[in-house]
């Protein structure tokens, strides 16, 4: 009884502090994004002013028009879409088939093969970028989609996650499929993929996001503006004449971030599931 009244008395200020903390956290996360959105609508004299002016006088799109006129955003968008869809798609395919092989097929060096896949997780892209750049250049793949996509195509992490998932599948379903005489290919696509849909969706979304945001490698293998992806092309708006035109640069930044933000808010449940997949330790 005594304890109860004590906790009840203590709860009030604690709750208040909780909400205060929540508001501060949200403000820190949202303010910079709001600043970017608002700057995209501001005229020069509204940006270069002290004290700062938060809201633009009018919401006109001249900065967006200027950004679209200065660099080929249409191409960036197309290139990002193509490399992301093909890259993430093939990566998922490779991950699924490799995981299937490791879990369901017989091979004398299976453990070694799986180890080879997993150890690749420990090799950062930057460590191998010079040899890969040399190889891609010698193949004549500079400024091509295959040059952007292929070197990062192999699936190590996806393979690992799918393997973990496959090991938890009810064996009875698979045995039924085997008795049906279904080939391994059919078993994978007719039986395993459908019941693994949530896991596959979560992994796919995270893979799409990282492909879309990929910067270093496309920066190295593309120097023609019409072949650039969004993150690489965006930097073309930076400092063209020594002074940054913030209004135009922020308009461009909005164009790059908004598709991802919309996708994130629409699919947040799945994306968050993908991010935490396996992150929760036993």
């Amino acid at each position: 009884m005594a304890t109860q009244t004590r906790t009840a008395r203590r709860r009030k200020p604690l709750q208040l502090g909780g909400y205060l903390g929540l508001i501060v956290a949200i403000a820190i996360m949202i303010l910079p994004l709001a600043w970017m959105f608002l700057a995209g609508f501001k005229e020069r004299d509204e940006i270069y002013t002290v004290p700062i002016q938060w809201l633009p006088e009018a919401y006109d799109l001249s900065n967006y028009a200027a950004a679209l006129a200065a660099v080929p955003f249409g191409n960036f968008f197309l290139n990002s879409t193509i490399t992301t869809v093909i890259g993430a798609g093939l990566k998922m395919l490779l991950g699924l088939t490799t995981a299937y092989a490791v879990v369901f097929l017989d091979f004398p060096f299976k453990k070694f093969v799986f180890g080879l896949v997993i150890f690749a997780l420990l090799v950062p892209q930057q460590i191998v970028m010079i040899p890969n750049f040399t190889l891609v250049a010698s193949l004549g793949w500079i400024n091509t989609y295959q040059g952007i996509i292929v070197p990062g195509l192999a699936s190590a992490f996806g393979t690992f996650l799918f393997r973990q998932h496959f090991l938890t599948l009810p064996i009875s379903i698979l045995e039924a499929a085997a008795l049906d005489g279904a080939s391994h290919w059919t078993r994978l696509w007719r039986f395993i993929v459908p019941i693994s849909a949530p896991t596959i969706a979560a992994v796919a979304l995270v893979s799409i996001v990282s492909e879309w945001n990929e910067y270093l490698w496309p920066l190295l293998v593309v120097d023609r503006s019409d072949m650039m992806t969004l993150p690489v092309g965006l930097t073309l708006l930076q400092n063209n004449d020594g002074v940054t035109n913030w209004g135009v640069l922020m308009a461009g930044t909005v164009l790059v971030t908004v598709p991802v933000l919309i996708a994130f808010f629409a699919l947040q449940k799945r994306i968050i599931a993908g991010l935490t997949a396996g992150g929760v330790t036993g």
Binding site: G18, L122, Q125, P231, L234
Partner: protein, 327 residues
């Protein structure tokens, strides 16, 4: 089962895995031993068809270049040049004797410790906050994680405007309490602080997310029992919750360390390693030496050193995790 971490991309490394319980080893065998004994090579061939392409890609674009990089590090070789001079360990000797190396290593250490340590502390604070029964915490969780899925370049650029010493938000906030804005753009130390803040802003949501998932698995009755025993919430947190978060903390220490050491986008968008190389980390140096200065051999030597450090640190952490985390 060791902890496994994706190092390829900063966003990817989000989805990393640490498994210390028996998730991995199934009781029932999964491979279907054929009813009638078929020729084993048929099954091997299938295995190669299923796993071969992926393994081939890994060999061509990860393992072969890893060995090549080691070889390149013994050359005095400019990127794109047809000829190279073997110099043995010359590049390594040059790096260790270069007066700039102390600065690069210091910058790398400060950046790494601040982003990893700071990220874990702030991430845990956010997670504790989001774990409380407050209205709107679901929306708050989404908002806190949102920057994590954005392009590092875009994040770097938008923060560059936030930090504008004349027309940015920080200048206005500091002005409100009577302070002048620090020279974020022109002073090497302030520039380092700036990129650290931006890195934290972008990535802290991931740490919060993982901690939150771990907090939600802390048994409620344990905390209720502690409260009945008269333990204050702070004491209950320190003595019950924190130890239970141990495995998560170790897992995060590996993943965030590895993605922090690889950060490139934000530095490239905001400072390009400057001013006065004040934000040049080892990873950025590898890029700069290889692709700006064209000294591919030297760059490969730095890459090899960094990879060796990464490998040793990861192995030590994994050993430590294996020892500490089982219960």
């Amino acid at each position: 089962m060791p902890t496994i971490v994706d190092l390829h991309r900063s966003t990817d490394s989000a989805v990393a895995v640490s498994v210390s319980t028996g998730v991995v080893s199934p009781v029932t065998p999964r491979t279907f031993t054929p009813r009638k004994k078929k020729k084993p090579w048929k099954s091997w061939l299938l295995f190669l068809l299923f796993a071969g392409p992926n393994v081939a890609l890994l060999i061509v674009f990860t393992y072969k270049p890893l060995v090549q990089s080691l070889y390149y590090s013994t050359l005095q070789w400019n990127l794109g040049s047809a000829s190279a001079i073997p110099v043995g360990l010359g590049n390594y000797v040059t790096w260790f004797n270069d007066p700039g190396t102390v600065r690069v290593v210091t910058v790398t250490l400060i950046f790494t410790i601040a982003t990893v340590g700071g990220g874990m502390v702030i991430g845990l604070l956010f997670a504790v906050l989001l774990n409380r029964k407050l209205h709107g915490r679901g929306a708050a969780r989404t908002i806190v994680v949102a920057p994590y899925v954005l392009s590092g370049v875009a994040v770097g650029l938008l923060w560059l405007f936030v930090f504008d010493p004349n027309f940015g938000i920080t200048a206005a906030l500091l002005d409100a309490i009577g302070l002048a804005s620090p020279p974020w753009y022109n002073d090497p130390h302030w520039a380092l602080v700036m990129v650290i803040i931006v890195y934290l802003w972008k990535n802290v949501g991931y740490v919060a997310l993982i901690y939150l998932a771990a907090l939600q698995s802390v048994p409620r009755d344990l905390l209720e029992a502690a409260a009945l025993d008269g333990a204050s919430p702070v004491r209950a947190f320190r003595n019950i919750v924190l130890p239970l978060l141990g495995p998560t903390t170790f897992f995060l220490s590996i993943t965030t360390l590895l993605s922090s050491l690889q950060s490139f986008d934000i530095i490239q968008a905001m400072t390009k390693g400057g001013p006065l190389e004040g934000t040049t980390t080892m990873m950025y140096q590898i890029y700069q030496e290889g692709f700006q200065a064209g000294r591919a051999g030297y760059s490969s030597a730095v890459a090899t050193i960094l990879f060796a450090v990464l490998l040793v640190v990861t192995l030590i952490q994994m050993k430590y995790v294996e020892k500490r985390v089982h219960y």
